[in-house]
């Protein structure tokens, strides 16, 4: 709302985040320029000042060219860049860039498809003039020099004048007086290069001085109502609460484990965070003597992401599976493999609001129709347990803005439906009761604190007691006021250090709802945002190194020399009394190792990272790679697709999953780009929208969106049927012919057509249809294991798809012409070719 320019790219904000989008309309009313970059003209584009179409999977070129535009034109916010970023860091001679390595960085091992990042480590020197050829700033300049408007046109299909308009708007709306915000969601993340999309935007925003300032930043629009919460207190295999890493098999003890986190900056207090977490979990059982029960924690041995787990299920390595609020039979890429995997379990527990496809695939899934699976032969024992919905239980949501908002139970859940909290708690109690009699004394489960107050007729654990535990308590049992009070000696307990303070003063801060008219424009008394109820992270950067706001217009927090403390509209993201001129003692650790003008306090050096020497497995700088499946070659490097993306080439089910690229002899059997997305009217895999008449009737049928030109070329009619075929499957959809999808002219490549597919449909509910996810491969970003569901290749033809076994025949025919073997199936002794 305070931005002068908002670029929405990789998100369909109006459709997927309508409530947040009200602030974009508000900013526009106040004069902000709104730009939307998307393969499709959507409801967001309709409200934007400017819409620019882009080829799915090419944003790094587009963003890289903006970086180049800024650097080559000298548009960077020089004072900000020098003081607040690692632009001055010097890189070692051994570091070689993609420019020299044919598209890969130094340290690449083509056999393991991994990088050794030792050659990426800065030398420790800094060049504040930013002129040394080996300083990050100059490396950056050279790296992005080839990302020109001309390349943008060839790779993205963005016309030079459109690119120039965006570049000008972004530059004109950055600097001291103005700020530009970038907004993305899964249009950027769901790629094999997902993380690097956001990295490129981060570089751009750091160069333009748009981080930590009002109206700036990069806004990641999160998904499900509390998906932010489920990364903070994660449902991810590699994290513990508060972004502490999950212990790995080789983490022998707590000390060894903690070396995985930096010693300087706010991670320097890592021991306090971790020990408090262990105290929250193991209570009195956690003592200095036993390393606070660190050895009770499970260990990971490698990647255990969803897709790996699915392959393990297919291999019979995973016997049982809990699905609590997830519908992979419709919602996960390669949906056929998801269903084959579940058909290979001993048991499956589905807790959901309705009978979703993942609970009924054994009876009516697409593979039953084609004959690939037969109900009688599926041995999986499926338990369906009805779940209480969010209105039927107390708890918090953590939204996109990291804000926790308490929701009160509005009515009792129907029948046997129970909350997740109830289920896990009572399941735990039952397991503990069994173990208690077993004579096992040294058991992690028995050592757990497992004693929430129970309320109501069904003995529901009190959700506010859980929140209080997450907030943390001191030695006296009183609720802590923030993570600054956490101690490393075991005297405090805290379930998630970044949430500490949400129950500050012994009160549920997340339940606050003071109307905006009655508080400042930052609205600190609405809910509670982590950390420390801070609304903008790294907001120290809103003031110059001397602590003065960069401009009066954009003043946010500043140093009050008289009072000797930081102050401002928001909670300063800095130690209150550390003066701007503070310089750390050599060898200092923790926050004290950071200077008074190092705003990025979670970084070991307090600097914004233009160059990322460690933490990313696919390179220290973003580089454009084509999607795993693409009808065009890489216009930037010899290396086509990401050299390190996770494709599971070793597994029989995924070995030959991808369609050949443009250079293969078979030619383009799947010549079109497909992209998948959401509609306002439906929710994700549809379990909560296809089941409700109010929503179902608004988008009653699965459809595909195609341009008039593609429709003409393939004989598709508006309102008619089309069959979309990928190397994995074929589905049918009604056709919407629309000029909102524009064919892209790529000089040198010809015209690229994109096919849009919402992914909400499945076989159950009031309105049913084929699932777009049947079409997609297992192709993942190697950093975070998110699937590439925003781009793949396909063919499209008029008419409905074949029924029964004939469907597989159609898919096989296409595969043969593409030179691919038959799809492997998972029947015992099945035809793996």
């Amino acid at each position: 709302m305070n931005a002068d320019c908002i670029v929405i790219a990789g998100s369909n904000m109006a459709e997927c985040h309508p409530v947040a989008f009200q602030w974009v309309t508000e900013a526009k009313r106040r004069g902000a320029t709104v730009i939307h970059v998307d393969p499709r003209f959507t409801r967001t584009s309709a409200l934007a000042s400017k819409y620019v179409p882009v080829r799915a999977g090419s944003d790094i070129v587009f963003l890289g060219a903006l970086v180049n535009h800024v650097l080559s034109g000298g548009h960077e916010f020089r004072d900000y860049v020098t003081a607040y970023t690692n632009a001055a860091d010097m890189l070692p001679d051994e570091f070689t860039d993609t420019e020299d390595g044919g598209g890969v960085f130094s340290g690449y091992d083509p056999h393991t498809r991994t990088y050794d990042n030792s050659s990426w480590q800065p030398t420790g020197e800094r060049d504040l003039t930013l002129t040394h050829p080996r300083c990050v700033f100059q490396v950056l300049k050279r790296h992005f020099a080839r990302y020109t408007p001309d390349l943008v046109e060839r790779a993205c299909g963005i016309e030079p004048r459109d690119f120039a308009a965006i570049a000008d708007a972004v530059v004109a709306n950055s600097g001291r007086e103005r700020t530009t915000a970038w907004v993305y969601a899964v249009g950027w993340t769901q790629h094999t290069t997902g993380v690097q999309h956001i990295r490129t935007a981060a570089i751009l925003q750091l160069l333009l001085g748009n981080m930590g300032r009002p109206g700036g930043g990069i806004l990641a629009l999160r998904g499900h109502a509390s998906i932010q919460g489920s990364t903070d207190i994660p449902t991810l295999f590699h994290l513990l609460p508060g972004y502490l890493p999950m212990p790995a098999a080789d983490d022998a003890d707590l000390n060894g484990y903690l070396t995985r986190l930096p010693d300087t900056g706010f991670w320097g207090n890592k021991r306090a965070y971790m020990v408090s977490l262990l105290k929250a979990w193991f209570g009195d059982a956690a003592t200095t003597g036993n390393d606070f029960c660190f050895d009770r924690l499970p260990r990971i041995t490698g990647e255990h992401g969803t897709y790996r787990t699915v392959l393990d299920m297919i291999d019979g390595k995973v016997k049982g599976y809990f699905l609590m609020g997830q519908n992979p039979a419709v919602g996960s890429a390669g949906a056929r493999l998801q269903r084959l995997a579940m058909a290979n379990l001993d048991w499956l527990v589905v807790r959901d609001l309705t009978l979703i496809e993942s609970a009924t695939f054994w009876r009516d899934g697409p593979e039953i129709a084609t004959g690939e699976l037969a109900t009688e032969q599926i041995a999986t024992e499926v338990f369906f347990l009805p779940a209480a919905s969010h209105v039927e239980k107390d708890g918090t949501f953590t939204n996109t803005q990291r804000m926790l908002q308490w929701h009160h139970k509005a009515l009792d859940p129907p029948g046997d439906a129970r909350s997740e909290l109830w289920f896990m708690y009572h399941l735990g109690k039952k397991i503990r009761a069994r173990l208690a009699g077993s004579g096992i004394t040294e058991d992690a489960v028995l050592d757990l604190t497992w004693d929430y107050p129970e309320v109501g007729e069904h003995a529901d654990p009190d959700a506010s007691a859980v929140l209080r535990e997450i907030n943390g308590t001191g030695p006296d049992g009183r609720a802590l006021d923030g993570f600054a009070q956490l101690a490393a000696d075991g005297s405090t307990a805290c379930g998630c250090w970044i949430y500490s303070g949400c129950y500050g003063g012994g009160e549920n801060q997340t339940a606050r709802r003071v109307p905006w008219q009655q508080q400042s424009w930052v609205a600190p008394q609405w809910g509670w945002a982590w950390p420390a109820n801070r609304r903008i992270l790294y907001n120290r950067a809103s003031a110059d190194p001397a602590g003065k706001p960069w401009s009066e217009k954009k003043a946010y927090v500043w140093w009050d020399a008289e009072a000797g403390s930081w102050t401002g509209h928001d909670v300063p993201d800095f130690e209150r009394s550390k003066p701007p001129g503070f310089s750390p003692e050599p060898g200092a650790s923790g926050p004290m190792a950071l200077g008074g003008s190092d705003p990025f306090i979670m970084m070991h050096d307090g600097k914004g990272a233009l160059f990322v020497p460690s933490g990313l497995v696919d390179g220290p700088l973003p580089a454009h790679y084509e999607p795993a499946e693409s009808p065009v070659g890489n216009a930037v490097y010899k290396q086509g697709a990401s050299p390190v993306s996770e494709l599971y080439p070793e597994h029989k089910m995924t070995r030959d999953q991808l369609a050949p690229g443009p250079s293969e002899p078979a030619g383009l059997v799947y010549p079109y780009v497909l992209t998948t997305y959401r509609l306002t009217e439906h929710h994700t895999a549809g379990g909560m929208s296809r089941t409700l008449s109010r929503l179902a009737e608004l988008q009653p049928e699965m459809f595909c969106e195609v341009s008039p030109a593609l429709a003409a070329a393939r004989g598709l009619e508006n309102g008619g049927w089309a069959t979309i075929v990928s190397a994995r499957a074929a589905i049918e959809a009604r056709v919407l012919v629309t000029r909102r999808i524009r064919p892209l002219r790529l000089p040198g490549e010809g015209v690229i057509h994109q096919v849009g597919l919402p992914y909400h449909w499945g076989g159950n509910g009031l309105v049913t249809g084929d699932s777009a996810n049947d079409l997609l491969p297992f192709a993942l970003d190697p950093n975070v294991f998110i699937q590439e569901s925003k781009v793949a290749t396909c063919d499209i033809r008029p008419g409905r798809r074949p029924r029964g076994a004939a469907l597989d025949v159609l898919v096989a025919k296409y595969r043969h012409s593409a030179g691919l073997p038959d799809l492997p199936d998972n029947r015992p002794g099945g035809g793996v070719s």
């Binding site: 008039p708 003409a712 009619e717 508006n718 919407l736 012919v737």
Partner: protein, 338 residues
């Protein structure tokens, strides 16, 4: 090429619309209920008038025939109206208020009063009881009758339906004419079949011919003088029904003229002393004439309903008309609608 979801494409360039969708709701009034009601109401209204004048001029046979037609028409018409509404109490529901701005409310009261009057008149005539009252009722029905026959013009015109609203001047005459034609023809046929009633049939015949002329004139006027809104009376389904109505009316009138010439020569013969009785062919001609004119009048009602539907269904009748004739407004520069 493919059908593109462009609203402009759907309805042609000059009349832009929303995917060619109707601007208006197409009437929920159904066939045959509404046309049948209008026809029978018209028949009843004009017959009641005919009956009263016939009674005044001492033509008891014609008067009785017309009274019966008036009563039958009222009864049948009410039946169709109730059928349209679904349940009898829904008709009574209309009598809970009298609303001058609602032609249907006015019509409901009119139909109720008129039905009472014509039933009383016919009942008294047939049973021979309460003759005074019957006669008074019959005379009163001569006042309600013409209004009952013409108010449907207001009923239909007082809507947003272009073909109806634009024809508010012509519709009452169309309905009046066709009611006269139907009433005259039914009187003619009824008297033709009565022993020595034929000579009473002559005014009926003239009424039928006059009605046919008025109906045809009003119809042609609507077709050609309403501009765009007259188009549905010429084109399509409704246009075909309109033409059928014209043909039937013309043929009926032709039969009537033949009939009239014949009866004139008959009367000449009677004056010369020979036996003046109706011949088989004159009865036949009278019946044919009545059937044709009645059929024409019925077709007219169907045509009018369908023309209304056509004009409500196609947005051009709303859009183009409102664009061509913007309503003069007190404040022309500001009007949001312009």
């Amino acid at each position: 090429m493919t059908h593109e979801p462009q609203p402009q494409d759907a309805a042609g360039v000059q009349a832009r619309s929303y995917y060619g969708r109707p601007v208006l709701k197409v009437t929920r009034w159904r066939e045959p209920h509404l046309p049948a009601y209008l026809f029978l109401g018209g028949l009843s209204g004009a017959s009641a008038t005919l009956a009263a004048v016939a009674a005044c001029t001492r033509r008891p046979r014609l008067a009785r025939a017309a009274r019966l037609a008036a009563a039958g028409g009222a009864l049948g018409g009410t039946g169709f109206l109730v059928a349209e509404l679904g349940r009898p109490e829904r008709f009574l529901n209309m009598l809970r208020v009298a609303k001058p701005t609602s032609p249907m409310s006015m019509g409901a009261w009119l139909l109720a009063v008129h039905s009472g009057l014509v039933m009383a008149a016919a009942g008294s005539d047939v049973t021979g009881r309460l003759r005074r009252t019957g006669a008074a009722a019959g005379a009163a029905a001569a006042l309600t009758g013409p209004v009952l026959a013409t108010y449907p013009g207001v009923l239909l015109a007082d809507t947003a339906v272009p073909a109806w609203h634009s024809a508010y001047r012509q519709l009452p005459f169309l309905f009046a004419g066709s009611a006269m034609a139907a009433a005259g023809a039914s009187g003619l046929a009824a008297t033709a079949w009565q022993r020595s009633g034929q000579d009473e049939g002559e005014p009926a015949l003239r009424l039928a011919l006059l009605g046919a002329a008025v109906e045809a004139a009003a119809g042609l006027h609507m077709e050609h003088r309403l501009g765009l809104a007259g188009e549905p009376y010429r084109d399509g389904d409704s246009g075909r029904l309109m033409r059928a109505s014209h043909t039937l009316t013309l043929a009926g009138a032709g039969a009537g003229v033949v009939m009239g010439v014949a009866s004139r020569s008959n009367q000449e013969a009677a004056r010369r002393g020979s036996q003046g009785t109706a011949t088989w062919w004159s009865r036949g001609t009278a019946t044919l004439c009545a059937a044709l004119l009645g059929g024409g009048a019925l077709c007219t009602r169907f045509a009018v309903l369908r023309a209304g539907i056509a004009s409500a269904r196609d947005p051009k009748y709303v859009v183009e008309a409102q664009r061509r004739h913007p309503v003069p407004s007190a404040d022309d520069g500001q009007g949001g609608a312009r």
